[in-house]
């Protein structure tokens, strides 16, 4: 995917490009949300879209998240493919009713007669020094809602590919964007963006033999760093990037865990009732006799997201991951 001529692109740029390409290819794709038009969004992801496609295709809405998602439902009923931007994770909550009671259930409710191909973009997670309500990891809510796909990129390449796939999907997708990776760079070339894979596949980002780190979104770079650091302690860690929480790629995940026999789930969301519980439980159900130790979890604490000056104590860091790896009952191997 890397070409010699490519100059580094950021995840923010890749997302913007995905929107642009989708809009150019398909006239039914409409972008809507607060400040997405003239301003280009507070993270500038939609920069230039209103200019290129007009305000009717990239629309500054009134300030009302339920209204945004609710009108998107109606637009989708009429055959459009709305891409909704929620300004920050916590500001998606006012639209929860529309998401859970309608968006997720529409196809099922109508016995397949109608689908709602809506993409809801949610910038999520911490590590950006955001004040209260600007750093939530809200994926647990979406994951527990049948009828939604929940997808999150961790690399610039995936930001493009997964967003294209999400928009192309005939089903609603909650597209979680790890905001602290918006400025992460790669040699990905926007001119040759690569194939668009369907959503639902995890990928092994680093192979290893000692144990598997199962992670996604903002925690992928932390896990990769931890895997590097672990070498010094004699552990060769495999790192799996889940990419899609729903559907969940049991195959890739279980293949890895069966191989290594040990696993740690890492995410920023709070632990209790977070996605890690599901992941640990299903891996254990499927790989029990391959496990040398229980699947452990390194997650945010079970607390409201902390103020900026304390967030580093909350977020899963390299040390905490290594501590968990150390607790994977190595002595049992003898």
């Amino acid at each position: 995917m890397t070409t010699a001529a490519a100059k580094p692109a950021t995840m923010a740029q890749a997302l913007g490009r995905a929107l642009r390409d989708a809009m150019a290819e398909d006239p039914t794709v409409h972008v809507m949300g607060e400040d997405v038009g003239t301003l280009g969004g507070v993270f500038r992801i939609t920069d230039g879209l209103a200019k290129e496609f007009g305000e009717d295709r990239c629309t500054d809405t009134p300030l009302a998240e339920a209204g945004i998602l609710g009108t998107a439902v109606g637009m989708a009923m009429y055959g459009l493919r709305p891409v909704v931007e929620m300004q920050f994770d916590a500001f998606a909550y006012p639209s929860f009713e529309q998401l859970v009671s309608h968006v997720s259930r529409w196809r099922n409710r109508t016995r397949g007669a109608m689908s709602l191909p809506i993409t809801v973009r949610v910038p999520y997670g911490g590590g950006i020094g955001g004040v209260e309500h600007h750093s939530d990891s809200s994926e647990a809510y979406y994951v527990a809602t049948p009828g939604l796909h929940v997808v999150t990129p961790a690399t610039v390449e995936d930001a493009y590919g997964l967003l294209r796939a999400a928009i192309a999907s005939d089903d609603p997708v909650v597209f979680m964007e790890p905001k602290r990776l918006y400025w992460s760079k790669s040699a990905w070339n926007p001119e040759t963006p690569g194939e668009v894979e369907p959503i639902g596949r995890a990928v092994v980002r680093r192979t290893g033999r000692s144990a598997t780190l199962l992670t996604y979104g903002p925690s992928l770079p932390v896990c990769l760093e931890a895997a590097e650091a672990a070498r010094a302690e004699g552990w060769d860690l495999e790192v799996v990037d889940l990419r899609s929480l729903v559907p969940f790629d049991d195959e890739t995940v279980c293949a890895s865990v069966r191989r290594t026999g040990r696993a740690v789930v890492v995410h920023e969301a709070t632990g209790f009732g977070g996605p890690g519980g599901e992941i640990a439980a299903r891996v254990t159900e499927r790989c029990f006799h391959h496990l040398e130790a229980p699947v452990l979890r390194v997650t945010g604490f079970d607390i409201p997201y902390p103020p900026p000056m304390l967030e580093r104590h909350h977020l899963p860091g390299v040390d905490r991951i290594l501590d968990a790896v150390a607790r994977l009952q190595w002595e049992a191997e003898g």
Binding site: H30, G37, T38, A50, K51, G54, E55, D56, T61, P62, A64, A66, G67, L69, G70, T71, A72, V73, G74, M75, A76, M77, Y78, G79, L80, P82, P94, E97, Q98, S101, H102, R105, W106, R107, N108, R109, T110, R111, G112, A113, M114, S115, P146, G147, H149, S169, D170, D171, G200, V246, P247, F248, D249, D250, E251
Partner: protein, 391 residues
């Protein structure tokens, strides 16, 4: 970088920040305010102008609607419907709402409005599917352009706005008419929908059936407004107040609102004053919260009786016409009764078919589990409730 390509909105004297010395209201609020008295036609001068053919059509529909309500309520007693929220006494609104729409228009009913859907042409059995407990929606919404019945109150209103807006963006001649109750106007979604509609000048008509109650909660605990129609001006759309039991009046006001929407004039809020004659649903006991004499007052103001009086006085309806309407209604009811008496055939495997366009691995696993359970149960005749709550 500036806002490019001013929208329709921006062109027509928008509410811009202007220092108060130079301040001008965006639009004159006067015409947006409702009439002081609910608009009426039947029994007034205005009735003379009403089209006799229309009145006769509405009459037949009202009679049929009343019979439909009675039949559906009867079906709950026979256990053929899980629940039925009746529109007895509200037929004028239901019928008019359906009648004012063109074929390409969309109707967005609330959970109570199966009658409007039926009046629009939906098969009553399909309309009652949800309330029968068979499946969540019994019809393809696109076929009759009727959105699924919306149980969460007021949540259908933004859908109507979005659909109407999308149609307008595409250059299609489509109006959406969205129905909601007086209680539903208190929900945030009501507010957001009306605001989006006005800002986008979407071709949508909001019909509030103010029937005096939200289950047991009377209007005075729901709002302190002079009328619900007074909410319109706060969004910059006209609010109209109409006698909801006067089918000619409701029809006229809605027709005007639909015409306005269709011609690019934007949304209208219509409040129809009516009354829920029956309890909230068959499961409700209305004597717990209202006096029978209040109901009596409204029975006197019955939508069918009002129209019948007018038609009779004008010589547009005789005993024969009355009987014909009645007979047609009976035929519909008999057919409905017969068809609802047949047990629907359901396939449990449908549970997994429509969650996603393409079944996920997780759902495939679960479908296989249920399939196996069903097969095992079929083999073993003793067990007739496989996977059920009891054995």
């Amino acid at each position: 970088m500036k806002r490019n390509s001013p929208t329709v909105l921006e062109q027509r004297g928008a509410y811009r920040p202007t220092p108060p010395p130079a301040w001008q209201p965006r639009t004159d609020p006067g015409p947006l305010l409702p009439e002081a008295e609910p608009y009426r036609v039947l029994g007034t001068e205005a009735a003379r102008k009403a089209d006799p053919a229309l009145l006769r059509r509405l009459y037949a529909q009202l009679v049929r609607g009343r019979r439909y309500n009675a039949q559906a309520t009867a079906l709950t007693k026979q256990g053929r419907l899980a629940v039925y929220p009746s529109t007895t006494g509200q037929e004028a609104c239901e019928i008019a709402a359906a009648d004012v729409l063109e074929e390409q228009d969309w109707l967005f009913p609330s959970y109570r409005d199966t009658l409007a859907a039926v009046a629009r042409g939906l098969d009553p059995v399909e309309a009652l599917t949800l309330l029968r407990g068979d499946w969540h929606t019994g019809y393809d919404p696109r076929e009759h352009r009727i959105a699924p019945l919306s149980t969460p109150l007021a949540t259908q209103l933004p859908h109507a706005v979005g659909l109407a807006h999308a149609a307008r963006l595409r250059g299609d001649d489509v109006v959406a008419l969205a129905m909601v109750g007086d209680g539903g106007t208190s929900e945030g979604d009501f507010h957001e929908a009306l605001n989006f509609a006005a800002v986008w000048q979407a071709p949508v008509v909001f019909l509030v059936q103010n029937n005096g109650f939200a289950i047991s909660v009377p209007l005075e605990k729901q709002t302190a407004a002079p009328s619900l129609a007074h909410k319109g001006v706060g969004y910059g759309m006209p609010g109209r107040l109409v006698d909801g039991n006067d089918v000619a009046a409701v029809h006229e006001v809605l027709t005007e609102a639909v015409r306005r929407a269709r011609s690019g004039g934007g949304p209208t809020l219509v409040e129809a004053l009516t009354y829920r004659i029956e309890a909230h649903t068959n499961a409700d006991d209305a004597t717990r919260y209202r006096e029978e004499d209040e109901v009596e007052v409204w029975r006197e103001h019955d939508p069918i009786a009002l129209l019948e009086r007018e038609l009779t006085e004008r010589g547009l309806l005789d005993d024969e016409g009355r009987q014909a309407a009645k007979d047609a209604a009976e035929t519909m009811a008999a057919e409905l009764r017969a068809r609802m008496n047949a047990d629907p055939v359901l396939d449990p495997m449908d549970l997994f078919q429509h969650v996603f366009a393409e079944q996920t691995g997780q759902l495939r696993e679960q479908a296989a589990q249920l399939r196996a359970e069903l097969d095992a149960a079929a083999e073993d005749q003793q067990h007739d409730e496989p996977g059920g709550t009891g054995r």
